[in-house]
């Protein structure tokens, strides 16, 4: 398995180390967060509205006297889960479209690539906002909309790699042995696109987390479930900025930046795996 080699390349790169430790840290927080959280999501009135940070409430309180640290701990779990789920789904769709279009070519490829072009032509998030608005606000719709609208770049990258893999000697040999299309795709082509897929999925995670926060901020998520974007939505609507309640505004954004940054760092380090020309460190 080349997994070990990849991990080694990743750890040799300072960005890879940083990204990996950040993502581990965030994952642990969001895994155990809700259990170590001193208050529940709906325990309001535990402090005064907009109370400033104090030892009892390290991150202060929101407008109905909920502990903001508790909200943040619960929110990070939802934000990360939404991000990962949407990234996985969109990568799967993109891989499927890229494999099918690239391998079979012909009319199917033409049609699929035209859809890819059409979707790439307009801004992803704007399209997501519009779709989510029509579908109605819910967390499920947020995941759905991000997954369904983020796959085109992946499909294109995978397709171009499949096009060159299709002509490679090992695929030709497999075909000469009488392997069918399904076997060639699954055993000989798909595995070779894996490093590329992982690198792109990592970037999809950052895209998905940012998109989720923006959609939630615009009120297209579920207002009852705290996410980083949702907390910021209420901070904005309750005038936390004008009143100078920085403890309501800063921490959720730091969470988003940390999550997106870890994915960006990892993606940057993964570049070395996919693109050996850059291996310098």
């Amino acid at each position: 398995m080349r997994f070990r080699e990849y991990l080694r390349i990743l750890l040799r790169n300072p960005y890879g180390r940083l990204g990996l430790s950040l993502i581990l840290f965030l994952s642990i927080i969001s895994a155990i967060g809700p259990y170590i959280s001193p208050y529940g999501v709906w325990e309001y009135g535990v402090c005064k509205p907009f109370e400033a940070p104090s030892p009892a409430h390290p991150l202060g309180c929101d407008e109905i006297g909920r502990d903001l640290l508790a909200l943040l701990l619960h929110g990070s779990r939802v934000s990360l889960l939404v991000g990962f789920a949407a990234a996985v789904f969109s990568t799967l769709i993109g891989a499927l479209v890229g494999l099918l279009g690239g391998y079979f070519g012909g009319l199917m490829d033409v049609v699929l690539m035209r859809v890819v072009d059409a979707l790439l032509a307009i801004p992803g998030l704007v399209l997501m906002i519009i779709f989510a608005a029509v579908l109605g606000p819910s967390l499920f719709n947020v995941v759905l909309v991000i997954s369904v609208l983020s796959w085109p770049p992946i499909a294109r990258v995978v397709r171009s790699q499949v096009l060159s893999l299709k002509e490679s000697p090992h695929v030709e040999a497999a075909r000469a042995f009488g392997a069918g299309s399904a076997r060639i795709i699954l055993r000989h082509i798909a595995p070779a696109t894996l490093p590329l897929l992982v690198a792109n999925m990592v970037l999809q995670v950052s895209n998905a987390i940012i998109s989720e926060s923006a959609l939630s901020f615009l009120g297209l998520g579920d207002p009852r479930i705290p996410t980083w974007g949702n907390i910021l939505r209420f901070a904005f609507r309750m005038g936390a900025m004008s009143a100078g309640y920085w403890w309501y505004v800063v921490p959720p954004g730091v969470g988003i930046v940390a999550a997106v940054l870890s994915a960006t760092f990892l993606g940057y380090a993964f570049d070395e795996i996919v693109n050996p020309k850059l291996r310098k460190y």
């Binding site: 035209r114 859809v115 072009d117 059409a118 790439l120 032509a121 307009i122 801004p123 992803g124 998030l125 704007v126 906002i129 519009i130 779709f131 608005a133 029509v134 950052s206 940012i210 926060s213 923006a214 901020f217 615009l218 009120g219 297209l220 974007g229 910021l232 901070a235 904005f236 900025m241 004008s242 100078g244 920085w246 505004v249 800063v250 959720p252 954004g253 988003i256 930046v257 997106v260 940054l261 960006t264 760092f265 940057y268 570049d271 693109n275 020309k277 850059l278 310098k280």
Partner: protein, 325 residues
């Protein structure tokens, strides 16, 4: 492939993209919400015959395919319907001062982000691997990872609320009457500083990273080796050879990026109450104003397909290899 043939081919592809997107829009705005007369039935206990008549008048009794073509025809004659919230024609709301406001904000910040991004990339590539390079790269990654709206909120909190250097939001001071055009312009620009800064900062990172990475990967090419062997100074090698070779790929990205900047405009305009199309879209989304959402969608669609087409042609004119593919 000659230029005219390439232009025609790309035009055909653009038209196909347009139809695919319009089909998506038709499905999204017309088919998915269901029969528009259904809610009348619930709300006012309308007589079934009246409803049938209404359906015939609205053309809803015709086959869906026919409705689709009527939909396209209406698009082309600019019939986008009435906004549910404003009660005014959608075209009137879109083709207004808001459009100018968005174009000014997006145009200036795009230009600034491209200029600064290229400058920083050149600086970094010349000192590849140095402290300056890693500092700039890390800085770009951080700004690139920030949600636009959060950066806006932070800037408002620091520069508008605490320091009071700039207004919290709006396009011009609402209660003020401007005595002359110059005063109006000054007020307008004063309001634009923060949203402009947000959009520029968000976009610099991406430009910088793309150009820097392209330049760094070009460093090992033969033509760079030759340029150095000729005895050119490192600055000349970078400016005249590497930088120039990195520009064509960047041109395509700028084309695609214009799309991304509009996205940023939606969030920025919402945060700063900037009276533009992005904020209009946010309002339309909050009030579930479907005709207005649809109108803005169509405008975005047309704008981006045309921009992409023009950028592609320019690129093909600059780099003939593109046409050969």
């Amino acid at each position: 492939m000659g230029m005219p043939r390439y232009a025609a081919l790309r035009a055909a592809q653009t038209a196909i993209s347009f139809f695919i997107l319009v089909a998506i829009a038709f499905f999204l705005f017309r088919v998915m919400p269901g029969d528009p007369t259904a809610f009348l039935l619930e709300s006012t206990r309308i007589h079934p015959e009246t409803r049938l008549l209404l359906k015939q008048r609205l053309g809803l009794d015709r086959p869906l395919v026919e409705q689709f073509f009527i939909y396209i025809k209406n698009l082309f004659i600019g019939e986008l319907g009435y906004s549910l919230y404003y009660g005014r024609p959608v075209t009137e709301l879109i083709f207004s001062r808001r459009m100018v406001n968005t174009l000014v904000l997006v145009g200036t910040s795009t230009a600034a982000a491209i200029g600064i991004g290229l400058l920083l990339a050149l600086t970094s590539a010349r000192r590849y691997g140095s402290k300056v390079d890693s500092a700039l790269t890390t800085f770009s990654m951080v700004t690139y990872s920030m949600p636009t709206f959060w950066l806006g909120m932070i800037l408002i909190m620091v520069f508008a609320v605490r320091l009071r250097w700039f207004p919290v939001g709006g396009t011009v001071t609402a209660i003020k009457t401007h005595s002359n055009a110059l005063e109006y312009l000054a007020d307008y620009l004063w309001h634009m500083v923060l949203p402009f800064t947000v959009l520029t900062l968000i976009e610099i990172g991406y430009n910088y990273l793309i150009v820097r990475n392209t330049m760094v990967s070009l460093l090992q090419e033969d033509f760079v080796y030759l340029a150095r062997a000729k005895g050119l100074s490192e600055g000349d090698v970078m400016r005249k050879h590497v930088f120039r070779a990195a520009l064509p790929p960047f041109a395509t990205i700028v084309g695609l990026q214009i799309a991304g900047i509009f996205t940023g405009a939606v969030m920025t305009e919402t945060i700063f109450s900037w009276e533009g199309l992005g904020r209009l879209l946010y309002e339309a989304v909050s009030t579930r104003d479907y005709p207005l959402i649809q109108g803005i969608f169509m405008l975005i669609l047309a704008a981006f397909l045309i921009t992409n087409y023009v950028v592609d042609l320019l690129y093909a004119a600059l780099d003939p290899r593109v046409r050969l593919r």
